[in-house]
């Protein structure tokens, strides 16, 4: 690589020597680093970095001459989940399902309409501005669009170090941290003086990651961090995120619409539909034993890059209903092939149906018929078709 030893090459050359190799004990052992996993929902609060209870965020719709509120977009409508310390919780769903709103509301970048967000045991919704500012040091966000999330008129070093400035660090400390962080994400420290337009999309996303890390947060919301990137760059950024998680003991709330990416990076995965959580379970449990019909449809819709695999696809009818006027009962009943009378009358309870593998993590699902919806898991399906185990 002597001809073109740019920064990215350097990073990749360095990787094998790095001590922060991901766990050798295989991909099949999620949440190794979680200690004392109890009965899940009732567990001791030290296990959880964040607990979200009945979170709601409505956006008013104004109309008429007087701009009165004529309706409400229920972007997030009663969502419950916990985030364990050190894990990656993936949040998937189609556009308009409210996953981005969840990400912003748990950081209080948007003020919730209802519900609680407990971060490190403190309810963020009750904090005043000063307390919130202090808490924000521990929570950060990585944005989707690396083009619009950096100020084009300031050098990137300034953007990366802005958090440090706000929190009153000295100039030397700022410059040192910025240099360290840029190096850590695979850029040259000298790049701090350059402007965003001098960088490619992948490099900008690295800058966004460096910016999020300068305050040494414990919790990061990654909102579609790789969906604007090309596939070969995507894998670079995903690997960096995994490395940094090990190094800095980070907890991620990883929001994405690409299920393959979410499966790769997450320990647990939640599926959202129209402002509600449909299903939440360990990664392998969710992908191999999906119980909510929507999860099943979503999984069957993903084209697999292997022409030998032919899957029976569940084709959903129609489009996602408007969150302005969501369907009664279960919100998925208008497109569900299993829907019965009860689905439109009664909203299904968010309940634990028990995990199939023995991880003792709850398998939460909101479906009246979750016990009767067992399907052949994805891994089994592929295994059957190819006659081999596909774990690489």
């Amino acid at each position: 690589m002597a001809t073109n030893a740019n920064n990215v090459n350097e990073l990749d050359n360095r990787e094998p020597a790095d001590a922060i190799k991901p766990s050798e004990n295989g991909a099949n052992t999620p949440v190794q680093h979680i200690t004392g996993v109890g009965g899940g929902v009732t567990g001791d609060s030290t296990d959880y970095i964040m607990r979200v209870q009945n979170l709601k965020k409505y956006f008013p719709v104004r109309g008429g001459v007087l701009q009165r509120v004529v309706g409400q977009v229920k972007a997030v409508d009663g969502v419950n989940f916990d985030v364990r310390r050190g894990e990656t919780l993936g949040l998937v769903g189609e556009s308009g399902c409210g996953k981005t709103t969840v990400g912003r509301t748990v950081l209080r970048l948007l003020n919730p309409t209802g519900g609680n967000v407990l971060f490190e045991g403190r309810d963020l919704t009750t904090l005043n501005a000063g307390e919130m500012k202090k808490t924000r040091r521990n929570m950060q966000i990585i944005f989707q669009d690396p083009y619009s999330s950096l100020d084009p008129r300031v050098p990137i070093g300034q953007s990366v170090g802005e958090g440090l400035l706000i929190h009153g660090f000295s100039r030397e400390e700022r410059e040192q941290t910025v240099r360290d962080m840029l190096k850590r994400v695979g850029l040259h420290p000298e790049h701090a003086r350059r402007y965003p337009h001098e960088f490619s999309g992948g490099q900008r996303q690295r800058i966004g990651i460096a910016r999020a890390l300068t305050m040494h947060p414990s919790f990061i919301v990654a909102d579609e961090p790789v969906s604007a990137l090309d596939v070969s760059i995507q894998s670079q950024v995903l690997n960096i995120l995994k490395d940094l998680q090990q190094e800095f003991k980070l907890t991620y709330l990883f929001i994405a619409h690409n299920l393959s990416v979410v499966e790769h990076i997450s320990d647990r995965v939640g599926v959202m539909y129209l402002g509600k959580m449909a299903e939440l379970a360990d990664r392998d449990e969710l992908f191999n034993n999906p119980r909510h019909p929507y999860t099943q449809a979503l999984l069957s819709a993903i084209p697999i890059p292997d022409p030998r695999i032919r899957r029976d696809r569940i084709i959903l009818k129609g489009d996602v209903p408007s969150p302005l006027n969501p369907p009664s009962g279960c919100r998925f009943h208008t497109r569900c092939w299993l829907a019965q009378q009860i689905c439109s009358d009664q909203e299904p309870e968010w309940r634990d149906i028990g995990s199939e593998n023995a991880t003792a993590h709850p398998h939460l699902v909101a479906c009246h018929f979750a016990e009767q919806t067992k399907v052949k898991g994805l891994a089994n399906e592929i295994k059957e078709q190819l006659g081999t185990d596909t774990k690489v």
Binding site: M1, T3, N4, N6, V8, N9, L11, D12, P22, S23, G26, A27, N28, E94, S95, S200, G202, Q203, D230, V231, S232, I233, Q234, S235, Q236, L238, N239, K242, H257, L259, S260, V261, E263, H264, R283, D284, F287, A297, L298, S300, A301, I302, P303, I304, P305, D306, P307, R308, I309, R313, I315, L316, D319, V320, L378, A379, I382, T390, K391, V392
Partner: protein, 389 residues
């Protein structure tokens, strides 16, 4: 009218075409030889450059591929590899400062690279049509969707208003739009992205074209809607037997839809083969890296493979192989000389590793390799490129 509607239907004069026609040498004798019997489309040595203030951008730099009637050909590659410019060039929709610099586009015996604008107008939307990535911005927001389909029909066929309208409703029904008669009067903003894409497909297929170019048709859509559209395209292909050029960066969509695939990198074709063998045993190091770097559903890996570095700038391309700087199997010759599209077991690969005169040994001395190559060139003809089969 919005530009995309124009592209599919009407007669916006295209500034670039004058220049393009002038710069390509029309060779009347090769007209018959260019198109073999069952090839619907054959692209030969096509180059499209953009003459910008900052230099020449070689967006498409000498590509060859062919397409049979009724075949689905996939073109894959990352952004900036020239896949969209290729499709726009085939439709002759490249405008200033872009130009077709060299090459031929044989479509059913006719070279589109030198066709006049009038001829192109007769072909576009009629014999070749195109669907685009952003369905919502490609439909004209101030006209009813039904009327936009009627326009496509009436430009190319003599049809009464009534007959055209009936046909439009029929098309809307065919692409699975519920209560099509009512939806005829809808405006694009009243429809979702998936619905708009269905309208685009209805418009593209209105005149039952021989070739449909689909440029990232499902990229802007959600996965469940993508599944609907892919199933629709498969079903329609069976009915109408249209050849499809499918352009996408999603290798999953590719594996499902395409029969043959072309992988592009920085304006060049690096590999061309049938879909099964491509996924089974990719030959070019770039294809190998690409397949290894995507997370695959149901196949969890601890770590993704990485292609280091980034795509070279199309303004300032390296003299040798364009992938050399990122290639894990780089040899000295790769930096100095660009490989041809080599024939390897019935597939084409642009990589020195598969050249008969080259020892794929990374320790081989550069001078020796060059000597060997020169001797080989003197004794034999160059291995035939893919297009010359």
């Amino acid at each position: 009218m919005q530009n995309t509607n124009d592209s599919a239907t009407s007669m916006k004069p295209d500034l670039a075409n004058d220049g393009a026609a002038g710069s390509v040498k029309a060779d009347p004798t090769s007209g018959g030889a260019g198109a073999s019997n069952d090839d619907l489309l054959r692209v030969e040595g096509l180059k499209t450059y953009f003459y910008t203030e900052d230099g020449i951008v070689k967006a498409v730099d000498g590509i060859d591929f062919s397409l049979k009637r009724g075949e689905v050909l996939g073109i894959a590659g990352e952004s900036g590899c020239g896949k969209s410019v290729t499709s726009l060039t085939i439709m002759r929709l490249i405008s200033q400062p872009g130009k077709i610099v060299a090459g031929h586009i044989w479509f059913d015996g006719k070279d589109l690279a030198t066709a006049t604008e009038d001829e192109m107008t007769k072909i576009r939307g009629n014999r070749i049509s195109m669907i685009f990535q952003q369905p919502t911005s490609c439909l004209n927001p101030v006209f009813k969707v039904g009327d936009q389909i009627v326009e496509v029909l009436k430009v190319h066929k003599r049809m009464s208003d009534r007959a055209a309208k009936d046909r439009a409703v029929e098309l809307l029904t065919m692409v699975g739009i519920p209560s099509a008669k009512k939806r005829y009067d809808s405006y694009p903003h009243e429809m979702s992205g998936g619905m708009c894409q269905r309208v685009m497909i209805a418009m593209g297929l209105a005149n039952e074209p021989e070739l449909l170019i689909a440029d990232e048709p499902t990229t802007a859509l959600d996965v469940t809607i993508q599944a609907q559209i892919l199933e629709l395209m498969k079903a329609l292909k069976k009915d109408i037997n249209t050849a499809i050029i499918l352009i996408t960066h999603d290798l999953g969509v590719m594996a499902e839809m395409a029969e043959r695939m072309v992988i592009m990198y920085a304006g060049k074709v690096v590999e061309q083969t049938d879909t099964n063998s491509l996924f089974e045993s990719p030959k070019h190091p770039y294809t190998q890296g690409l397949l290894a770097s995507i997370p695959v559903l149901g196949q969890v890996r601890d770590r993704l493979e990485v292609i280091p570095g980034t795509v070279p700038s199309l303004r300032n391309l390296p003299p040798g192989c364009r992938f050399a700087a990122r290639c894990p199997r780089q040899m000295p010759i790769c930096v100095d000389e660009e490989p041809d599209l080599l024939k390897v077991h019935g597939r084409s690969v642009r990589c020195w590793l598969y050249h008969p005169a080259i020892d794929p040994d990374p320790t081989a001395c550069a001078d020796q390799t060059l000597d060997k190559l020169n001797t080989y060139r003197q004794t034999q003809q160059e291995p035939p490129a893919a297009a010359a089969k």
